[in-house]
């Protein structure tokens, strides 16, 4: 990861790729479920499983802005961050600000529940079911399917809030968040601090994380 004199790299390529793939997959997953295209729903669901597992592992092995421990630490400044927002003195933050961090945990949590319940769901006819549903009873699988459906409402609410927040930041706070999520870069002039961490996405860290994620999906496919 190189930093030119004018730009910092804030988001490594895997964070960006996973983020946008998740956007596409959520839409596909919703639509295939609506249309009853369960074969595709399952394929997309397993892909999403891989992405979620990867992202969680990457939260420990990836670049600084992807890691969960620094995010937890930054939550301590939530109070002053919100105060600054209220009295108009908001300044851009390198990586996720404390509000964004709450959003990361909420969205990743809801997404994990969605994918997890999908694995064990059974439909009302007993015909279509997730790959791990063989391990639960019909009645349990139906209950899990109910959670799978209810959680989607929660997930879509969180997604709507996320999009709304980004729009508020972009157009009202003039804090440019969308282009960096595509290119990874922000102007050096955006940040007050003179020292920002140089973020690196390690090659072997990626291989390890992707390997575990793929292996998990493979295991699920061959369960039972």
């Amino acid at each position: 990861m190189t930093t030119s004199p004018e730009h910092h790299v804030v988001w490594d390529w895997t964070v960006r790729l996973v983020h946008w793939l998740m956007v596409i997959l959520v839409l596909l997953l919703w639509w295939t479920a609506e249309e009853g295209m369960m074969d595709w729903h399952k394929r997309c669901g397993l892909t999403m499983l891989g992405l979620v597992i990867f992202r969680i592992i990457w939260g420990f092995t990836g670049s600084w802005t992807a890691r969960f421990v620094p995010m937890f630490r930054r939550l301590g400044s939530l109070g002053s961050y919100v105060r600054d927002l209220k009295n108009g003195s908001h300044k851009p933050v390198f990586g996720h600000g404390p509000l964004g961090i709450l959003s990361v945990f909420a969205l990743l949590g809801a997404l994990s529940v969605q994918v997890g319940t999908g694995l064990f769901s059974v439909d009302v006819d007993g015909l279509e079911s997730g790959p791990l549903a063989i391990w639960v009873s019909f009645s349990t699988g139906r209950d899990i399917a109910d959670i799978h459906e209810l959680n989607f409402d929660i997930l879509s609410t969180l997604i709507s809030l996320h999009v709304a927040a980004i729009l508020v930041y972009q157009f009202i706070l003039k804090d440019n968040l969308i282009p960096p999520m595509v290119t990874g870069k922000r102007p050096v002039s955006d940040f007050a601090a003179s020292t920002v961490p140089t973020i690196t996405a390690g090659f072997w860290a990626f291989v390890l994380s992707a390997g575990i994620a793929s292996g998990s999906v493979y295991a699920v496919l061959h369960a039972g």
Partner: protein, 176 residues
């Protein structure tokens, strides 16, 4: 000035978002309030409404359970034919008399909580055709299951599941 704009906009957006999310499951509260008294009404067949609804709900759940059991066997590497055959036989048994499970007065306006939709009685001949389709598919599945041919069994199972689905699509409340 800026914070007020943000505050108003955030509230407005949050409001719209919550409204749209909440708008999804409007009809789930339907007729479950006066369940106590309403369920006690006695039908021509001698059962109370509550008992009739419970009987068909339990039987249909058992059928779904059996179908899942058979399906899980087929999904595994080595299907246990005995389990599949038992499931197929039980589905035939459990679905006997299904044409009599939905007498007048046991629908959504009976006051008892049920997933049965009013259209069952509005389009009763078609509904009954679907019931008999299911029973026919169940008999065929049972017959094929005796043969032990996994591929043929899979096909018959899919057909049976198809009859379940085609009835549910029109006559059962959509909760998934």
């Amino acid at each position: 000035m800026l914070n007020r704009k943000i505050g108003l906009l955030c509230t407005a957006v949050a409001g719209v978002v919550l409204l749209s999310a909440c708008g999804q499951n409007e009809d789930s509260e339907a007729a479950s309030d006066s369940a106590g008294d309403a369920g006690a009404a006695v039908l021509a067949n001698g059962m109370t409404v509550a008992d009739q609804v419970k009987l068909r709900h339990d039987a249909l759940e058992d059928i779904g359970d059996a179908l899942k059991g058979a399906g899980d066997q087929l999904k595994s590497g080595s299907p246990d034919m005995a389990v599949i055959q038992a499931a197929a036989a039980s589905i035939v048994e459990k679905s006997k008399g299904m044409e009599d499970w939905f007498p007048e007065g046991t629908g959504p306006d009976s006051g008892v909580e049920t997933d049965a939709l009013a259209v069952i009685w509005e389009d009763n001949p078609d509904f009954l055709t679907k019931v008999s389709d299911m029973q026919g598919a169940a008999a065929k599945f049972n017959e094929v299951a005796q043969g032990g041919d996994a591929a043929a069994i899979g096909g018959a199972m899919k057909e049976l599941g198809g009859t379940c689905k085609s009835c549910h699509d029109k006559y059962r409340k959509d909760d998934d």
